[in-house]
């Protein structure tokens, strides 16, 4: 069956994303959600269990959760591809997913015969794919309400697989559960009112009968939260505001933002969640939210059974540069810390500040703050008020450093890998009215400024390797372009690191040295997706998949849209 006959694909294609004064609006979405089935019989019926996901990081045939494992290492134990043979990697197939909107996702692989891929992209479109043949088995498009407003495009970064279902967050701040075998809707739960400015774009995570999901809307004056839902029914199990009232002055808590807009890292042993937390609200006017604005711009640890806050580590107190700390946290167990002569579980955060923070997983104590990944110029200098007539370009700009892009960690090399922007931006603050559901920045952001600090090296982005134990920046590859860099990384047990660039290049690095081992030109469009990898014992091949196409800032200019899922392979 062709894509033209796929009603869910057509519904996604008919949906238009339009940039307005208030952000992105999704227009032309179907009135009712649409499932279209192709060859669903190919999907083997068995539950995806806790144990399977827990072993996913060590199972070369699986990629069962957004970060590859609950610790979000984004590392595969598939070992066919090595630094020595990666140059032989070939295109297995290019799948046109049909809907050419935001492409920020990471597909999942449920192992089996054939392995089933669950792949999603904007606007809330998900597919089950025979990953061996590249055939679409079912597709689904969620009916996004037309009054949804989004700061940064109609992103969807992936799904969760658990039991007999897959789970996707929806742009109107909800979670929808689909039958994993048929793509039919099982339940939908709204987690907050999208008319207040809430939305949801991340891949949820599942464990022990619970679905964990956060909150977005940090540019719309909402109040951030995290929730656990019952995986079977969608019923809310607990709800925790990210910031307590006692940390904010008076009613400023109501617009405090500090949203949790990328997914939780799960510590199954200690039954904890480690959450990335975004900017305080409004973004640029700190005068209406005095104090450090805890727990914004940092890491928040919660008890996964009750939602109780355990600790928070703040990277930027009283942020006025939109220095979210959005990227998923990496949990490293038993890290040997030589200079302290101790071994600890640590949580690692790659922030917009361009530093990597390594924290004690039990207390949030900072063990090391790394060398900067990119340039820090005029950093932490107060932005001017709009009436001052002063200019103050700052670096990292408001997109970082490391924004949402999920970093990878390779236990074999002991290095974390990340993509950072290196571009000045300007912001001015002003007093601004709050109106429910409307943009609430408290100022203006100049995205592409001509005011450039003297010391700026002119290189817009970099791919960086940092040792989380010592904070040493081990290697860095500057990426020059007209557009920003976006999307995440994957690394292999054999020491290869894959990632895409805004120039349409898909690159394999030697994880130790940073040498480029292989490059593939995927065309003009930027690559905003995050790659993943798996091994198929039937074909005896290792595969690497990446979604091609821009999103957010990268949908414009040099970046642009695409509709392809590129899958590469190498035989044993």
């Amino acid at each position: 069956m062709s894509l033209e006959e796929d009603r869910a694909v057509q519904a996604a294609k008919d949906t238009v994303v339009r940039e307005t004064d208030q952000g992105f609006r999704v227009l032309g979405s179907p009135e009712k959600s649409v499932t279209h089935q192709h060859d669903v019989d190919r999907i083997e019926e068995f539950d995806v269990t806790n144990e399977m996901i827990q072993e996913s990081g060590e199972n070369p045939e699986a990629w069962l959760t957004y970060g590859g494992n609950y610790e979000q290492h984004r590392r595969t134990t598939a070992d066919v591809i090595t630094p020595d043979n990666v140059a032989d990697l070939e295109v297995e197939y290019m799948l046109d997913v049909g809907a050419g909107s935001s492409m920020e996702g990471t597909p999942l692989i449920v192992p089996g015969d054939p392995p089933i891929m669950y792949q999603s992209n904007g606007p809330n479109h998900v597919k089950a794919i025979d990953a061996r043949e590249g055939d679409i088995l079912w597709s689904y498009t969620y009916a996004v309400p037309s009054d949804v407003v989004l700061c940064c495009d109609d992103n969807n970064r992936g799904v969760a697989a658990y039991g007999d279902k897959v789970f996707m967050t929806t742009l109107d701040s909800g979670v929808v559960a689909l039958d994993r075998y048929t793509g039919e809707e099982e339940w939908y739960t709204s987690t907050a009112d999208h008319e207040e400015g809430y939305s949801a774009t991340w891949a949820p995570v599942a464990f022990d009968g619970m679905i964990f999901t956060g909150s977005a809307g940090g540019e719309y004056g909402v109040r951030g939260f995290h929730k656990a839902l019952d995986a079977e029914t969608g019923e809310e199990l607990w709800h925790t505001w990210t910031s307590p009232e006692t940390e904010w002055v008076g009613d400023s808590i109501n617009q405090s933002c500090a949203t949790n807009w990328m997914n939780a890292t799960i510590d199954v042993e200690k039954r904890r969640l480690y959450l990335p937390i975004g900017n305080p609200g409004p973004d640029f006017d700190g005068s209406v939210r005095p104090g450090p604005n805890r727990n914004s711009c940092g890491t928040l640890a919660l008890d996964m059974d009750t939602g109780e806050r355990l600790w928070a580590h703040q990277e930027v107190a009283h942020d006025v540069w939109d220095y979210d700390s959005a990227a998923p946290r990496i949990l490293i167990r038993d890290m040997e810390i030589d200079h302290r002569n101790t071994t600890k579980d640590v949580v690692v955060s790659a922030g917009k500040t361009a530093w990597l923070y390594t924290m004690d997983a039990d207390t949030g104590e900072l063990i090391e703050r790394s060398e900067p990944g990119v340039q820090q110029l005029n950093m932490y200098r107060m932005i001017p008020h709009i009436d001052e007539g002063r200019r103050m370009p700052f670096m990292p700009g408001a997109m970082g450093g490391n924004d949402w892009q999920p970093p990878a960690y390779n236990p074999e090399t002991g290095l974390a890998y990340m993509k950072m922007n290196n571009s000045p931006q300007e912001a001015w603050w002003r007093f601004e009215e709050y109106e429910e559901g409307k943009k609430y920045w408290g100022g203006i952001l100049e995205d592409q400024t001509e005011a450039v600090p003297d010391e700026y090296n002119g290189k817009i982005s970099a791919i960086v390797a940092i040792n989380p134990e010592t904070g040493e920046r081990v290697w860095r590859d500057w990426i020059e372009s007209e557009a920003y860099i976006w999307g995440g990384m994957v690394t292999t047990e054999t020491g290869v690191v894959f990632t895409g660039t805004q120039n349409g290049d898909f690159i394999a690095y030697d994880g130790e040295s940073g040498d480029r081992l292989w490059e593939y030109d995927l065309g003009e469009a930027s690559i905003a997706g995050s790659p993943m990898s798996w091994y198929d014992p039937e074909t005896e091949k290792q595969y690497v998949a990446i979604q091609v196409g821009g999103s957010g800032w990268l949908r414009r200019g040099a970046g642009g849209r695409d509709t392809r899922l590129a899958v590469f392979s190498l035989s044993e």
Binding site: S287, P290, P292, A317, Y380, Y434
Partner: protein
């Protein structure tokens, strides 16, 4: 520890604002010299603002609570050198209470002031920080022996008292941008219900910054230097001094004799101004730790 830093240019700016004789390089301005040259404000509105605040809050404030907690706040200010000596709170798995104790009496006062709508009254009766209002405040602050003597009793030496006056007089632009919620900037229609009153933001923010130091310094000790702690010492002292000034004004409302209405207005405005300016300073000195400021890594 670092005390208030006063430059020649800052002194000249203070002198210009107060219209006093020229200050030469190396001169040291004193409160006494300023008092000799500065007159009280004769703006009737200044007194009328204080009168309205008194009228709003008459019979609502708990004098005993304010008095007790102000005494406790004074004791906490006396503790500052020993807090600085310890620098970073102890604690195996979390920060023990060190800085939070400094702010504790402040919270007792703050909660009471919120309960009696103290901040709403200030919001209703006081203007934004215009140059005229700031100038009037400075004149009253300097000319009022009770206010400067109160600061002296709290342990602010001559130089520190001058520094606090400068916080008020030398920051017109900074202060003017902390707009009262009732004010409507030219192009913005402002929704007052969503933002706490200006003076509540000044006072609450002060206490939150001091409270946050325990966890901030304990968690980030690998970044913290003696210089950061030394610089922060003055910021904390100034913040708590500003809070004390505001709270003392609240106590004065309960008394039959004390400050004049103009002096009341000045004490409240000066307290808020000092708290606002030093909130911005404590960010820079203690929380926004750049690569240049941080302690060297032990791992590299």
């Amino acid at each position: 520890m670092t005390t208030a830093q006063i430059t020649d240019e800052a002194q000249r700016q203070l002198a210009r604002t107060l219209d006093v004789d020229e200050v030469r390089d190396g001169d040291q301005l004193t409160i006494e010299r300023l008092r000799d040259e500065v007159e009280r404000t004769d703006d009737p509105e200044f007194a009328s603002m204080g009168e309205s605040i008194r009228s709003d809050l008459s019979g609502k404030l708990d004098a005993e609570l304010l008095e007790t907690q102000l005494e406790e706040l004074s004791r906490q200010l006396e503790r500052l050198p020993e807090v600085r000596e310890q620098g970073i709170p102890e604690g195996e798995t979390e920060a023990e209470v060190l800085y939070r104790e400094l702010a504790e009496p402040g919270w007792e006062i703050y909660d009471h002031l919120v309960d009696v709508d103290f901040f709403e009254s200030l919001e209703a009766n006081l203007p934004r920080f215009t140059p005229e209002h700031i100038e009037g405040t400075a004149h009253e602050l300097i000319a009022t022996d009770e206010l400067t003597a109160e600061l002296e009793a709290l342990g602010f030496d001559e130089q520190e008292r001058i520094a606090l006056v400068m916080d008020v007089t030398n920051n017109n632009d900074r202060l003017a941008r902390w707009v009262p919620t009732k004010e409507i900037p030219a192009e913005v229609e402002f929704g007052v219900e969503h933002v706490p009153p200006l003076h509540q933001r000044a006072a609450g923010g002060t206490l939150l910054w001091v409270d946050a130091l325990d966890v901030h310094l304990w968690q980030n000790r690998v970044l913290v230097t003696d210089e950061i702690l030394d610089d922060g010492y003055w910021d904390i002292k100034a913040l708590l001094g500003g809070f004390h000034l505001l709270a003392q004004a609240a106590l004065d409302i309960t008394r039959e004799e004390g400050l004049t209405d103009s002096q009341l207005t000045a004490a409240i405005t000066a307290g808020a101004a000092i708290m606002i300016v030093n909130q911005e300073e404590i960010c820079k000195n203690m929380f926004w730790i750049t690569e240049e400021m941080r302690a060297p890594s032990e791992a590299r």
